[in-house]
Each structure stands twice: as structure tokens, then as C-alpha cells.
């Protein structure tokens, strides 16, 4: 079982050490191969996971009665995640061999990607929260390295640092939560934590506090309000990175963590409510920003934030299997959207502004059709993966009594359909707005890039059929598979007739969103500008992302920088520098004093030797 982890790590190590000497051909062979092997191994274990296997590697920490093992936990939840991580990661690796082919740091890129996959597997396979934290930080590190991959660009290295620092803020909360768990439960094992919470050993108030602290960590990693600001900037990284780390895998770690600790969260009602409210509000908020963005990757970034908002919302209302379901379908269609966008950017020679694109479906049909499937999936058009998972979340929220949150969620579904089809219509339809030279270079991407697109499109289309709506079938393969890992089973009763109406409503809204986008961007392309001129205040507010970056800059960053400068001036310089320099100066001064003894005159040395001998002899003879 441990081989799942070893292959990506080994490949990453080889690429780091010998990467300079390997040809691009070998690198583009070994890096995806290592992930493929992991994928095959995880397929093999997938069927056996329902019993829940624990593979103990060794005893890591043993202090008093606290024992923490390095152990892998292979239960339904982790096996689904591992399969998704290795599968999507493999496809993106293959894609990247085509996309990054011109890059001079080819092997470094794959070394980081492999390392990322390793840490992600550590995160999902860990059996204790401490080991999970190792993976959690590891993927953060790889994310930082890969966002700043083109570190020659100042904006890229700044974006990397922003991601790292914002995540540290979240991790502070996460760490305090972990320590509190260790203090109250005296164990870091997920099973024991959940069992202790469910049996009432953790008081509800404390469980809520722990839940909120852990959720602060999740808001950092999964880009929720208030710590989402790093994700749009993270689009500075290469597009395969955005697809793998900032869409499919790493950013869903927060959702995974909440579902993993579902025993704790289902006891902590207050924390769960906070999670649900933050989640649905983030979903709506990010969707409104996505409407006005013109950078193709920025739209997708806000869309990712919005979709993760849905997952967090689902986790908050106790629909854990729905949260993971949406996580998996989202991984397929969002990875596909990013890879498709990457294919477009590749063809456009690095241009990301959608206002300079248009009518690309004529030039790149494969990219267009796969992108369209992903677009249909994310908008929740019936029949595609996103429809099933999103509807399950919305239905669960409706039947669990969160009517207000449900209505926000439905409204977001409309916005989602609108912004994603705005993107499709601006990019693939309409007039060709690029300049002649770019137009001349337009071409379909190579096979290594289109084949992963086709495979992902296949899953984005059919991935949803593992869990059908309740009014069609009461039995869902998905829920039955994940049944074992959920501690407090929800007793929601889905009334079929209402659920059918809800589904019809959200499908109608999705179609409406597509229709509005079609009307505004294909039928009457001048209309959007007229509308934005009519309501300049709202348009500007959305275009500038509610000025949140500026507010953070003013409220948090500037006082911090100012305070740090003050401390530097009034404490560091006199006290710390003073101490260090002072000790050096004292030594120098003493040395100068002592060096006066060395006169350079041999006579003086002889006299001092004689004097010493005489003194010793006298003392000896006197019998002292």
C-alpha cells in the first residue's frame, strides 16, 4: 500500500537530483508513469476499501499516553479521494508534457508536480490529524513553488508569497484546533476523535470552538471568505498547475478535512452553521465577481471559489456524501475547464484576455467541444455530472430546513450558468477579435493535450450517474459506498414531488442563465457595455472584486508593515543588533588588551619563563 506514496516521491527525487541531465523525453515519460503506477495500485485497493484498512508504518511520536503513528488509512472516503487525485493528476501530467514543452525548466516543473501529488496523497491517506497536517503543509509548499514557477515575473513570485502568507493565517487557526483536540481527546487518530465527539466526551461548546478553528484552516486552504484572496492571484502559475492544485485537488482539502471529521462537526452545531453560511455566501459572492472578469483564468478562479463554496455549504448542513460527490465531479469538470483554457492560451500565444478572443471553435474543435461539456456540467444542465451533485446539495439544504441558504444557492446556480457561458460565448463564438498575427498562429493543441481533455470530458459527462436524484432511485451507489465513514447519519426525508420541482426549478434557472449569456454575448454583443454604463457603480464594484484586496491592504497589511518598521527601528536596531555587536566589540577590546603582552622581544619571554619557573620552585620548596 505504501507504494502508492513511494512512486511519486521517488520520481520527484530523481527529477530534482538528475533533472538537469535527463532529456525532455525521459522526463515526460517517467513523471506521468509514476502517477500512473500509483493510480493502478489505488484501483487495486479501491475494491477492498469498504472494510477500512489501516497500514501502520511506524510509531512516530510517543509522549506520555499520547501516541501518534505514521499510518495509512484506506477507507471509502480516502480511496475515492486517492483515485481522484491520482487519476486527475495523471491526466494533467500528460497534458503538461505538451503544454510545458517549450519551457526551459521542464524537469523542475515535473519534480514539483510529482512532489505535490505525493503530499496530496499523504494528506488524504493519513490516519491521524497530525500526519494530515504534514500533507496539508506539504501541498501548501508545492503550491507556493508552482505559483511562483515563473519567478522571473515579479507578479508570479508575489502571488506565490501571497498564497503562502494567507495560508499561514489559516494554518494558525488549524494548528490551535489540532492542539486543542490533542488536549481534550488525548489522541490524534481520526476514528478516536470522531468517536469521542459522538459519544459526548468533548463538550459541545468546546467541539464548536475546535470546529471553528479547524474551519479557519479550511478557509485558507479552500479559499473561502475571508481568506480567498490568494486564489485569483495564484493564476499566475502555469495552467496545468491551476488545473491540478488550484481547482481539482489541493483547494478541496478543506472540504475533505471537514468530511473526515464529520463526527466532530455534526456534534458542533454552531460550527456547522458557520461553515454552511460562509460556504453559501462565498459561492454567491465569488459568482458575482466572476461575471465581470475578462481574464479567462480569473473567471475560472472565481468559479472555483464559488464551487468550493457549494461543497463547504454541503459539509456545513451535514450532507457529507453530497459534498464529496460535488468535490469529485467538480474535480473532473473544473480540471477540464482549466485545461481547455490552457489549450486556448497555448493557441493564442499567451493571451488570456477574453476580449481579444472570439470564434475559436472554428480553429480548435476538440478544445471547444470538451470545454462545452465542462460548461454544461458546471452549469447544472440535466444529464451532466454537475447537475446531479449540485442538485443533491440544494435538495439536502432545502429539506434540512435552511430555506434562506437554499435560495442563495439556487441564485448562485443561475449566476454560474451565466458566467460560464459568457466565457464560452466570448471565447468560442462571435467576431474574431484577435490581431492578424495571432490569428495566423491559431491551431488545435497537440495530441498529448487533447487526449486528457477528451478523457476528462467523458467523466464530466457521465460522472454524475453514480448518485441519481432520490425521486428516480432511492438507492444511490455513492451514498452506500460512503455510508461507513459517516458517523451521524442524516435523517432527512426527501419528499419526491418537492424534490422533482426543485430540480426542475434549478434546471430552468441554468437554462435561463445560458439563455441570458447567449442573448447578451452572441445576439446583441453591444448590450453588455450599455448595461455596464447604465450601472457604473455596481459594475466597477464587481470588476474590482469589491475592493477587498485594497481593504485588506489598508486594514491589515499596511498597519503590519508600519508596526514592523517601528519595531525594527526601536527594538531590533538598539536591542538585538546592540547585543550582538556589543559582544563582538567587547571581545575585540579584550583581545587588544591581551595582545599588549606579546612584545616581540625574546628577552621578555625568557624573563617571564624564568620568573615563572622560579616562582613555581619557590612555592614547591616552601611546601605550599
Amino acid at each position: 500500500m505504501i507504494w502508492v506514496l513511494i512512486f511519486p516521491l521517488l520520481s520527484s527525487f530523481l527529477l530534482v537530483v538528475f533533472g538537469k541531465y535527463l532529456s525532455k523525453k525521459i522526463v515526460s515519460f517517467t513523471a506521468p508513469l509514476s502517477i500512473l503506477i500509483s493510480f493502478i495500485i489505488s484501483l487495486f485497493y479501491f475494491s477492498r476499501a469498504s472494510e477500512g484498512i489501516i497500514y501502520k508504518i511506524y510509531n512516530w511520536i510517543s509522549v506520555g499516553n499520547l501516541k501518534i503513528d505514521i499510518a495509512l488509512k484506506w477507507d471509502p472516503l480516502s480511496s475515492v479521494m486517492v483515485l481522484m487525485v491520482t487519476g486527475v493528476s495523471f491526466l494533467i501530467h500528460v497534458y503538461a508534457t505538451g503544454y510545458m514543452h517549450e519551457d526551459k525548466s521542464f524537469s523542475r516543473f515535473f519534480a514539483y508536480m510529482n512532489l505535490f501529488t505525493f503530499f496530496m496523497l499523504v494528506l488524504v491517506l493519513s490516519s491521524s490529524i497530525i500526519m494530515m497536517f504534514v500533507g496539508w503543509e506539504g501541498v501548501g509548499l508545492c503550491s507556493y513553488l508552482l505559483i511562483g514557477f515563473w519567478f522571473e515575473k515579479e507578479s508570479a513570485s508575489k502571488a506565490g508569497m501571497k498564497a503562502f502568507i494567507v495560508n499561514r493565517i489559516g494554518d494558525l487557526g488549524f494548528l490551535i484546533g489540532i492542539f486543542w483536540i490533542l488536549y481534550t481527546v488525548k489522541s490524534a487518530d481520526f476514528d478516536l476523535i470522531n468517536a469521542a465527539a459522538v459519544s459526548g466526551k468533548i463538550p459541545v461548546a468546546i467541539a464548536s470552538l475546535i470546529g471553528i478553528l479547524l474551519f479557519i484552516g479550511a478557509t485558507g486552504k479552500s479559499a473561502q471568505i475571508p481568506l480567498y484572496v490568494w486564489l485569483p492571484d495564484a493564476m499566475e502559475g502555469p495552467t496545468p498547475v491551476s488545473a491540478l492544485i488550484h481547482a481539482a485537488t489541493m483547494v478541496t482539502a478543506g472540504v475533505y478535512m471537514i468530511v473526515r471529521l464529520n463526527g466532530l462537526f455534526s456534534v458542533a452545531h454552531f460550527a456547522s452553521t458557520v461553515v454552511a453560511v460562509v460556504g453559501v455566501f462565498t459561492a454567491f459572492y465569488a459568482a458575482t465577481i466572476a461575471i465581470t472578469q475578462n481574464d479567462i483564468k480569473k473567471v475560472l478562479a472565481y468559479s472555483t471559489i464559488s464551487q468550493i463554496g457549494y461543497m463547504i455549504f454541503a459539509a456545513g448542513i451535514g450532507a457529507y456524501s453530497a459534498a464529496i460527490f460535488h468535490l469529485i465531479t467538480h474535480a473532473f469538470f473544473k480540471a477540464l475547464l482549466f485545461l481547455g483554457a490552457g489549450s486556448v492560451i497555448h493557441a493564442m500565444g499567451g493571451i488570456q484576455d477574453m476580449r481579444k478572443m472570439g470564434n475559436l471553435r472554428k480553429y480548435m474543435p476538440v478544445t471547444f467541444y470538451t470545454f462545452l461539456i465542462a460548461g454544461l456540467a458546471i452549469s447544472g444542465i440535466p444529464g451532466f455530472a454537475g447537475f446531479f451533485s449540485k442538485d443533491e446539495i440544494l435538495a439536502s439544504s432545502y429539506f434540512s430546513g435552511h430555506k434562506i441558504l437554499w435560495s442563495i444557492g439556487v441564485l448562485t446556480a443561475l449566476l454560474t450558468a451565466f458566467y460560464i457561458f459568457r466565457l464560452i460565448f466570448m471565447t468560442f463564438y462571435g467576431k474574431e477579435r484577435m490581431d492578424e498575427e495571432t490569428k495566423h498562429h491559431l491551431h488545435e493543441s497537440p495530441k498529448s493535450m487533447t487526449i486528457p481533455l477528451i478523457i476528462l470530458a467523458f467523466f464530466a459527462a457521465i460522472g454524475g450517474y453514480v448518485s441519481l436524484p432520490k425521486f428516480i432511485s432511492e438507492h444511490s451507489i455513492w451514498e452506500e459506498y460512503l455510508h461507513k465513514i459517516i458517523y451521524v447519519k442524516s435523517e432527512l426525508h426527501f419528499i419526491h414531488s418537492i424534490e422533482l420541482n426543485l430540480t426542475l426549478l434549478s434546471s430552468a434557472l441554468a437554462f435561463l442563465g445560458v439563455l441570458i449569456a447567449w442573448y447578451l454575448y452572441v445576439k446583441k454583443p453591444n448590450l453588455p457595455i450599455i448595461i455596464s454604463n447604465k450601472i457604473p457603480f455596481i459594475y466597477k464594484l464587481l470588476l474590482n472584486k469589491y475592493y477587498v484586496d485594497e481593504i485588506y491592504e489598508f486594514v491589515f497589511v499596511n498597519p503590519f508593515v508600519f508596526g514592523s518598521e517601528g519595531i525594527y527601528e526601536w527594538f531590533d536596531k538598539p536591542v538585538i543588533d546592540g547585543t550582538v555587536n556589543g559582544s563582538g566589540k567587547t571581545t575585540l577590546f579584550l583581545g587588544k588588551l591581551l595582545s599588549k603582552l606579546q612584545t616581540g622581544q625574546i628577552r621578555d619571554y625568557i624573563y617571564s619563563i624564568l620568573f615563572g619557573v622560579a616562582l613555581l620552585l619557590t612555592l614547591l620548596l616552601m611546601g605550599v
Binding site: 606579546q598 612584545t599 616581540g600 622581544q601 628577552r603 624564568l610
Partner: protein
Amino acid sequence: MICGYSVIFLSIVLFLIGIAIFISKKTFIMMLIGAEFSLNAINLLLVFFSKVKNNLDGQIFVIFSLTVAAIEVATGIAIAVILYRKHKIQKREDLKELKG
């Protein structure tokens, strides 16, 4: 049998003469001679005591000590000669490069 005290006395006198030369003379050659004086005074003492005690260890030790002394003198004189040749230094007062 020689009188024990006279030998001890002789070697003490020789030793002190050596030290006196070492301190008072200014040239390196003379200082080396002084050092040899005191060294040999000690050797004499060792041989004498070895004879008295009927133990050959002392005399064997003297052989070693003489060997070392020979090497020491050879190096010492070589240094003195080079100092003279290169820097025209004969007297110890002129050699004060190591002043702190």
C-alpha cells in the same frame, strides 16, 4: 668513585652558566650555545644518577636527548643563518615582527 656532590654541583653551575649566556648574549648563535650548555648540564646529571643507581635507563635517555639536541641545533643555526642572509638580523632585539 667520584664525589657525588661535586658532580651535582658541576652540573648546576653549568646549567646556570648556560642560562646566564642565554639571557645576556644578544646574538642568536651565542644564545644557542647557552641553551646547549644547560641541556648538557642536565645530560651530565642524568648519566651520573644512572651510574649511581646502577640503572641504564638514564644513559639511554641521554642518547635520545643528544640526538634531539643535535637536530635542534641544526634547525636553530639554520634559522639564524637565514635570518642573517635575508634580513641582516643578528641580534634578538631586531626581531620584533610578532609584537602585538
